[in-house]
């Protein structure tokens, strides 16, 4: 059996992401490596295709090491990763849809993103004629079962996706998701694009995480080109990233409670969220701070007035937020809905490498800011909040603790903001190169891989949303709950459809 650790050469020591080395493996080595990695309990961090190859990102959480492995099959077939890593199954199905590379002995060979409506097959590989297709859901058998199909268009203001519930009375015995409705072909548009165009697309993969995506993409490009932006730029990025986290967590806390019919919490939290967005707009010129992070730095500097405005925001939130916690914690009728609902086990979050509040609520403490610190995070004092109860209540509490932590981080970042130029010019690449970006968005770890050609154009860019490893677990969390609690569970996960469908 091979020793997998020889491939895990990306460590946490480097101040920012070093140029990523991809280890090219033979068929046999690939098969062994995947098997070994699963046996050693490594985490799958990503799996993506290109015209003629597949690349796998593996993470050793304990050692804080990452490795990139690739295989170029000559016959268009590669040994399935999903056989050993269930978290890879949907990724593999997508690779088959987009590139026409087939995972051999895959446990699930149904299409995933391709709904038979593009008019062509394998749009990013050897394109062929597309054809309409029937999609078969997993069979369910049993006494007294009924099915409830929901979506793609949902009742509220949310993104589209299909949920197929099988119920026995009120109880959900199985949920099967079908996604891909908002597939926009972003990775296709990336191919051959210039670096700034790539940034525009990356910032629109998942609107709620536009800062985190902008940063992860910039990191990947900078690592490929071997440049490090100024410390000031890194600090400003972190300030925006924490504001984004605040806004999203505040919105989520209110919205989850609202799905338990506690509207007061939504009204109050949405005011706090709006205050964050207004401050962002006043200081950075955009409510979501979109398109401000660029490869090479940031396009907006922070003035003295801006700092004062942000400090005011922090002061307001520090006053208002504890009252929200008190309200949540002292409303038994609300806790009655959230405690014990939608339980997710530690074994599953580990197996799938689920990050963010979903992982942390079930005892997996992975946070990129802590394990692979980037930008200013290495110098910030932070502890990752962790719980073991894994229910809706736990996912709310993790968010609460992260709001508090972001407030503290922001105060510290404003205090220590260094001088420097916000944006540096990018050098021309000396040849074809590639880089990796890994950033902790509000929802979890976002991975971006970029390969540039010698003119600095994008050869391949893959963006992996944290939702890939969270969506499948929603199917597990809802099992045994009543169907009426689905909105509550779903909101406590708040996975991205767009980030996943891409």
């Amino acid at each position: 059996m091979i020793d997998i650790s020889q491939y895990l050469d990306i460590t946490a020591e480097a101040p920012d992401r070093p140029a990523a080395q991809v280890h090219r493996l033979s068929r046999g080595e690939w098969r062994d490596a995947v098997e070994r990695a699963a046996a050693d309990g490594l985490t799958l961090l990503g799996l993506w295709g290109a015209r003629a190859s597949v690349t796998l990102a593996l993470l050793d959480e304990e050692q804080a090491r990452i490795g990139l492995l690739s295989f170029s099959p000559r016959n268009g077939r590669f040994p399935s990763v999903g056989r050993h890593f269930p978290s890879a199954q949907r990724l593999e199905r997508s690779i088959a849809d987009l590139f026409g590379l087939i995972p051999q002995d895959a446990p699930d060979d149904r299409p995933w993103l391709d709904h038979g409506r593009w008019g062509l097959s394998h749009p990013l590989g050897k394109a062929g004629q597309g054809k309409a297709q029937d999609y078969s859901f997993l069979p369910v058998e049993g006494h007294g079962l009924h099915q409830v199909p929901v979506g793609p268009v949902h009742a509220g203001i949310i993104e589209p996706g299909h949920f197929r519930f099988t119920g026995q009375g009120e109880t959900v015995v199985r949920l099967e998701e079908r996604l891909g409705y908002v597939h926009k072909g972003i990775e296709g548009l990336m191919q051959g694009a210039e670096i700034p165009r790539g940034a525009e697309l990356a910032a629109r993969v998942s609107g709620d995480s536009t800062v985190a995506y902008g940063w992860a993409y910039a990191q990947a490009v900078e690592s490929a080109l071997g440049v490090v932006p100024s410390a000031r730029a890194q600090w400003l990025r972190a300030i925006m990233a924490e504001l984004e986290r605040l806004a999203n967590h505040l919105g989520d806390i209110g919205a989850i409670c609202n799905d338990a019919a506690f509207a007061l919490m939504l009204a109050r939290c949405s005011v706090l969220r709006e205050n964050v967005l207004r401050a962002a707009d006043a200081v950075f010129g955009h409510r979501f701070m979109r398109d401000i992070i660029r490869p090479g730095g940031v396009s907006v500097d922070l003035s003295g007035d801006g700092i004062a405005r942000l400090r005011d925001l922090l002061a307001d939130l520090e006053q208002a937020f504890p009252r929200m916690i008190e309200l949540y914690d002292n409303t038994p009728s609300l806790l009655d809905r959230t405690v014990g609902t939608g339980h997710l086990s530690n074994a599953l979050v580990r197996q799938f490498g689920a990050g963010g509040y979903i992982g942390r609520a079930s005892g997996r403490g992975f946070d990129v800011r802590k394990v692979f610190p980037y930008g200013p995070y290495g110098q910030m004092d932070m502890t990752v909040p962790l719980r073991g109860d894994g229910d809706v209540n736990a996912r709310i509490w993790i968010r609460i603790r992260e709001v508090e932590q972001s407030l503290a981080l922001l105060a510290r970042l404003l205090e220590t903001l260094p001088d420097g130029v916000p944006l540096i010019e990018l050098p021309k690449p000396s040849g074809a190169c590639q880089g990796l970006g890994l950033v902790e968005g509000f929802r979890g770890d976002i991975l971006v891989f970029v390969a540039l050609d010698r003119h600095g154009r994008i050869r391949r860019c893959h963006l992996r949303d944290p939702s890939w490893f969270q969506w499948p677990l929603l199917e597990a969390a809802i099992e045994g709950n009543i169907i009426a609690d689905f909105p509550l569970c779903n909101k406590s996960f708040n996975c991205s459809y767009s980030g996943h469908d891409l």
């Binding site: 793609p152 203001i157 949310i158 609107g207 536009t210 005011v271 979501f288 002292n330």
Partner: protein, 174 residues
Amino acid sequence: MRKFLLEGLLKRPLTEDAPTAEGNLATEIDRTAHRRLGRSLAIRMVDAGSCNGCELEIHALGNPYYDLDRLGLHFVASPRHADILMVTGPVTHNMKTALRRSYDAMPAPKWVVSVGDCALDGGCFRGSYAIAGGVDAVIPVDLHIPGCAPSPVDIMKGLLTILDSATASRAAGS
């Protein structure tokens, strides 16, 4: 909880004045029409492929600062109850049918508002194999609200425009 309720009674609401309507469909607001018909329109929202940024701002319309409901505009769960179909995103091929069906399920008279730069012509996703185009590639659009994402105030202005023209056309028909 009691503290919050008391505060609600004593403090002024956070809600701000609504912006005035403007745009390519603005018409004179007919006061008598208002009196007779009220100002109430139901909106069904469909995301046809957005990045979810536009949804966030549509959501924000419900927060106490904007409080869209006070203007008689409210979001409904079924297209059968809706007067307005609000659509975001470039229309993906995978969502085309669902969008079309949502539109067909609405009773007439009906209006379509497309929200966000993507919804106009596919925006930055134009040209992709997975994109059918803007919203009007699939259903007729009455009003477009530009922006990426348009702010809640922008969306509100657009909706008020539709509200006025809807009220006027109902008055003309009665």
